[in-house]
């Protein structure tokens, strides 16, 4: 864990317990407390939100929690993220922009939202289109905003054909656009990622830590 984190192991355990119990006020209390103590947004995102959601995902995969608990944990996380949202949009004017979207039929939007938020923290304008973005709408948005980067999120490997279809459409209209793909479906445990080799403009960025490294190295130029 990051040595500069204000999320201790005990804080994490308390938060995770509250999350699994569906204790929304408990989670809000912990996030407010850590935020007031000076925890940075990326500390909360990486060491509290992402970590706990990964664990929720593991528990769900092991049939130890139900889909209802998983959905509730996701909804509570979306709620507590609003606590730190004002910090995302302060700061200097944005010079570069990124569009982040979940491909058609992909309803897990939290990871994509976190990507757009972290990009904002790094001085990008993050346009987050949310879950289940139709290809036509995405192409229109790219045409309007002319982003420097497109981020596509895929959580369920089952939706891979949707991702491939989206990439084909994007490169059909915007051949030079840089694209970043991420999400749980790209973790090695879920499935084959050799399909990525067919796209030279596409970079896999699976975790928020990888994204942080990408964005930080980009800042250093």
């Amino acid at each position: 864990m990051d040595t500069k984190t204000l999320i201790t192991e005990s804080t994490y355990e308390q938060y995770l317990a509250a999350l699994l119990q569906g204790d929304r006020p408990g989670c809000i209390r912990i996030v407010r407390d850590r935020s007031s103590a000076g925890a940075e947004v990326k500390d909360l995102y990486l060491n509290l939100f992402q970590r706990s959601l990964y664990q929720v995902g593991d528990l769900w995969e092991q049939h130890r929690i139900s889909v209802a608990v998983e959905h509730l944990a996701t909804a509570i996380t979306e709620r507590v993220m609003t606590i730190v949202q004002p910090q995302l949009f302060s700061g200097a004017a944005r010079e570069r922009s990124i569009i982040v979207a979940c491909v058609a039929d992909e309803y897990h939007q939290l990871g994509g939202r976190m990507v757009a938020d972290l990009a904002e923290l790094h001085g990008w304008r993050g346009f987050f289109l949310g879950a289940n973005t139709p290809i036509e709408g995405l192409l229109q948005m790219i045409d309007q905003q002319k982003p420097d980067l497109l981020g596509l999120s895929l959580s369920v490997y089952f939706n891979l054909p949707g991702m491939v279809k989206t990439l084909e459409a994007v490169f059909g209209s915007f051949p030079g656009l840089a694209v970043m793909v991420g999400g749980q479906a790209l973790r090695p445990r879920w499935g084959d990622t050799s399909w990525l080799r067919g796209y030279s403009n596409v970079r896999p960025v699976v975790t928020l830590e990888e994204l942080e490294r990408e964005l930080s190295s980009d800042e250093r130029g």
Binding site: W60, V67, A68, H71, A75, A93, F158
Partner: protein, 386 residues
């Protein structure tokens, strides 16, 4: 007696489970191979389930180990996350019963859990609605405070305009006094007063313009005016400043005599601003060029200088309020950064857009494009295609 009477209760029950019940029923052998499945199971998973393995239904990346666990009978319901037809998952509470060499699995959703989820989502929705309301209220308050700020700046600028003008007029009168003209030091002091009061008057006018524009009170008085006359008027206003710095201003209008349908004084203000900037940021003895081009899309006008030029980062902030602040003019003075904001707002009010083309060390080109409708005569005439 109807048809059902010929069936046993067990058969009726089986038929119900097989065709109608919202309960998953699976029969598997000891190796986990599917032998049969009811209608609910097939619809839920989107799979035929006539053959294959129980593992196909499970959300898991460790199928073999996971499968073993499900092949032991259990009367205690166990949580099973099943892969559904839409690629998502559903939780079923599964009991399993040994039936000869095979295993029967019965799984159903927990209605209490569904109800709890529904309640929690409603509560969450209410909380987000309340947050949305708070945000709307805070936004309304910000709009009110911004309007108040504009009003204050507008009033203050308006009240400062008179004394600034008076200082300027009196200093100019004083400059003509014999006592002053005989003293070099007095002349220098009065010149500095005139220069400072002049800058202050320009600044106050900028503040007034900005507050009017931010309050959406920028109204245009559209008239048909000659483009040449607009450029000449702007040039008149900056001629002295250009001469003081020994800067030559050249004019290239590709179609003399073009008439524009614009607010003349406001376009003169735009051109004056661009010219003043060019003079301020150009080296002494250099040359500035004013160019106009008639295009099918409209009229393009720009001012080109031989100054230091700007990097990409500065170019992007130029049209923001105070975005150009801190820039040092050739005279050493600092800019406050409002002029280009005013330029942009005036051009935008005409339906046009501003542009800047520059490279460090290569000078700059600041300009704007007015839409074709701002031309008093059809574009084709000007483009020589009529």
């Amino acid at each position: 007696m109807n048809g059902a009477d010929s069936c046993t209760a067990t058969e009726i029950g089986w038929n119900y489970l097989d065709r109608q019940a919202a309960i998953l029923v699976l029969r598997v052998d000891a190796a986990g191979n599917l032998l049969s499945a009811n209608n609910f199971a097939r619809e839920l998973t989107g799979l035929p389930l006539a053959s294959g393995s129980l593992g196909e239904l499970l959300i898991t990346s460790t199928e073999a180990a996971e499968l073993k666990r499900w092949l032991t009978p259990s009367v205690e319901p166990r949580l099973m996350n099943v892969r559904t037809a839409d690629g998502l998952s559903q939780t079923l509470y599964v009991t399993s019963v040994q039936m000869g060499p095979d295993l029967l699995l019965f799984g159903q959703a927990d209605p209490q859990e569904q109800e709890r989820l529904r309640r929690e989502f409603l509560a969450l929705n209410q909380e987000l609605t309340a947050l949305g309301r708070e945000l709307a209220l805070a936004n309304a308050e910000l709009v009110r405070l911004s309007a108040l700020k504009n009003k204050f700046v507008g009033m203050a600028s308006h009240d400062l305009r008179k004394p600034a003008g008076l200082i300027l007029n009196l200093a100019e009168l004083l400059f003509e006094e014999p006592a002053v003209s005989q003293s070099a030091q007095a002349r220098r002091i009065i010149e500095r007063i005139i220069g400072s009061a002049g800058s202050m008057a320009v600044l106050i006018d900028d503040f007034l313009d900005i507050t009017m524009m931010e309050a959406d009170r920028l109204s245009l008085d559209i008239q048909v005016v000659a483009q040449d006359a607009l450029v000449a008027s702007a040039l008149d206003l900056v001629q002295v400043a250009a001469a003081q710095r020994n800067i030559e201003v050249k004019i290239f209008l590709d179609q003399p005599g073009v008439k524009l349908r614009v607010d003349g004084p406001k376009i003169v203000q735009v051109l004056t601003n661009l010219l003043s900037n060019a003079i301020d940021y150009s080296p002494e003895g250099s040359c500035i060029t004013v160019v106009s081009q008639q295009q099918a899309a409209g009229v393009r006008l720009w001012v080109e200088d031989q100054g230091d030029g700007l990097d990409q980062e500065r170019q992007q902030r130029l049209f923001e309020a105070f975005g150009g602040s801190g820039a040092t003019k050739a005279s050493g003075e600092r800019s406050i950064g409002l002029g280009l904001v005013i330029v942009q707002k005036i051009v935008a009010a005409h339906g046009g857009s501003c542009f800047v083309e520059s490279q460090p060390g290569m000078g700059s080109r600041f300009g704007f494009q007015l839409p074709a409708c701002c031309r008093a005569v059809s574009a084709l005439n000007y483009l020589g295609r009529a």
